[in-house]
Symmetry: C2
Subunit: 185 residues, 2 copies
DNA sequence: CTGTGCATGTAATCCGTTACATGATTTA
DNA sequence: TAAATCATGTAACGGATTACATGCACAG
């Protein structure tokens, strides 16, 4: 009861189960393969969550297999809950950025170190973009509903990494300018 | 002992204390005023953290005031720890995005609902950008070290919200196109 | 003298991570 | 028959949020 609305592991699990019944073990791989960069989950967490979802009637054990395998399926209640969450619960914005927290305190380092930090961000972002571009090549352009929306997510990541790279490069430049300005005084 | 390196409330607190001694109460306001969108902290958490930082010798109670007020100051060890974290510990990227998690399951809704979701993202991003632009006007361009690096963070947020808005608008368009394509079959 | 703000703390609960623990089944 | 994989679970710990609880000091 009062199984909270805001927590998303629940919805990630329900979402994956809409693609068909699966065991905890199966789901764990789907989390690793497709949701790793969006909503990671550990084994420990997932088995606990499946128990709670079953207790709440949002999933059921549809079949049992060898080695104690329990195959879970989403129930109509689970499906309704997922749609409710998707359509009616406003998404919570990300509230924490370790990267930006560090930016706030970069004044504690020398300007050179601050520039190093920002240039490193640019490099990391550029590398990420390279990997994403490789990934984009391997995605089948028309294979099921996951491909349509998976591509939207991939495009977001491409744009994000581009933005991050441009910003970090600009910011390092900005620090250099401030440094020059201070030296001229 | 083994007071973990990865946790950033510690560093956020040390960082704020580099601007001068402050009580838990003072710090709480600084968290609300300047770090709310980067690293929020609750009262409960902060008082606990200050105790741990004091035990670890990274801060000290520099003065006591009325109403049991304890004014904390960062120690040389705390300052060294902050610089170590800033310069040598690689930042952890954000691993979770509820917004993108939802995108992965937008196929469970009707295409119209999916477009609504994406258009709402665009609207929210546009509103955020408006607020940030207002904020940018009020920031004194040359007032101390926080202004230099605070401006970098603000610029990041401006670029991020612009990117988000453009992406969401594009993505809604993309869903419409897929819908038209399916209708044509 | 009353309300507002200053000021600190504790308890309960939940989410997430790491590590521990166990065992069955298939495949080479 | 040994190794890899399938498969599930528990325990310990720490971080984050919400709520509870208390009380002093100052301004009007």
């Amino acid at each position: 009861m009062n199984y909270d609305d805001v927590v998303s592991l629940k919805h990630a699990t329900l979402g994956l189960l809409t693609y068909g019944p699966a065991s905890g073990y199966d789901l764990l791989q789907k989390f690793r393969d497709s949701l790793a960069n969006v909503w990671p989950a550990t084994q420990s967490q997932l088995y606990g969550e499946l128990g709670k979802l079953a207790d709440a009637g949002l999933v059921t054990v549809a079949a049992e297999g060898p080695r104690g395998r329990k195959e879970y399926a989403i129930t109509p209640e689970g499906s309704a809950e997922l749609r409710h969450w998707l359509g009616e619960v406003p998404p919570a914005p990300n509230r924490r950025s370790e990267m930006l927290l560090r930016v706030f305190f970069l004044g504690m380092l020398t300007p050179e170190q601050a520039q190093d930090y920002l240039n490193d961000r640019a490099t990391v972002a550029a590398e990420l973009q390279g990997e994403l571009r490789e990934l984009a090549k391997t995605v089948d352009p028309d294979s099921g509903p996951l491909a349509v929306y998976g591509r939207l997510a991939l495009e977001w990541a491409l744009r994000f990494s581009a933005m991050q790279q441009e910003w970090a490069t600009w910011a390092a430049e900005e620090v250099r300018r401030a440094q020059d300005g201070a030296a001229a005084d």
